[in-house]
Amino acid sequence: MNSQIPLEHGMALAAVLLLLGLVGVLVRRDAVFILLSLEIMLNAAGLAFIAAGARWAQADGQVMFLFILAVAAAEVSIGLALVLWLYHWHKTVDIDRARSLRG
């Protein structure tokens, strides 16, 4: 499968996706949406690694993508458990309501 995709275009796509995720983190106050936006940002970082790996035809990009995948899985499991705790304490997932430690 050969193609003529410039590295810059793959990187630009990764940058746009990362920016969309960042805007999501900044704009939304719902903890579930913030975790979703973090997933988008991690995925965009993985896309950047894959694009760079494809440019030089090396396997390292995909190895880094595997690591990012593992980090995303660990992050989302802990994050969703914390969201459940937040809902248990405050009966909402609005993170502006969780201003203090120890509930």
């Binding site: 003529q4 997933e39 894959i50 969703l80």
Partner: protein, 176 residues
Amino acid sequence: MVTLPFYIASAVAIAATFMVITRLNAVHALLYLVVSLLAVALIFLLLGAPFAAALEVVIYAGAIMVLFVFVVMMLSMGPHGASEKWEKPGISAWIGPGILFAVLLAELLYVFGRTPYVPVHVAEVTPRQVGARLLGPYLLGVELVSMLLLVGLTGAFHLAYHLGKRETQKGAGGSR
């Protein structure tokens, strides 16, 4: 001619991601995110990374999204999600980061604009190469990731265990 599908998939990914961060209903956002992840998986395939594309579908669009769906179902947030209000950020809070970010973006565009586009031949990197690389020079990284996953598992179990104990106590107390 594999370039056209790349740009179509890129447009789909960007549009779907934009829909994710603007939806009020969490389930709609999840569906759009699955579309976005599938588009990114297609891009991985076009970039000559079939192994990463398969993992994107199986783990991201499969396992992680199922986790999100379960949590959204457990929260029972109603048809419009938990937060119907949008954060109205004061413009003053955005000025400082905005200026710094604009500087970095200008630098990025400058660098991209100066270097001429090199049309490269994208060669496929097979799973065999990835595996050899992963279990060769990156073996320490694999061990670190296994530690990370173990810590994640333990932490999630700890949080869920105490949450479950509290909920059962509360449920038992309420029924009496």
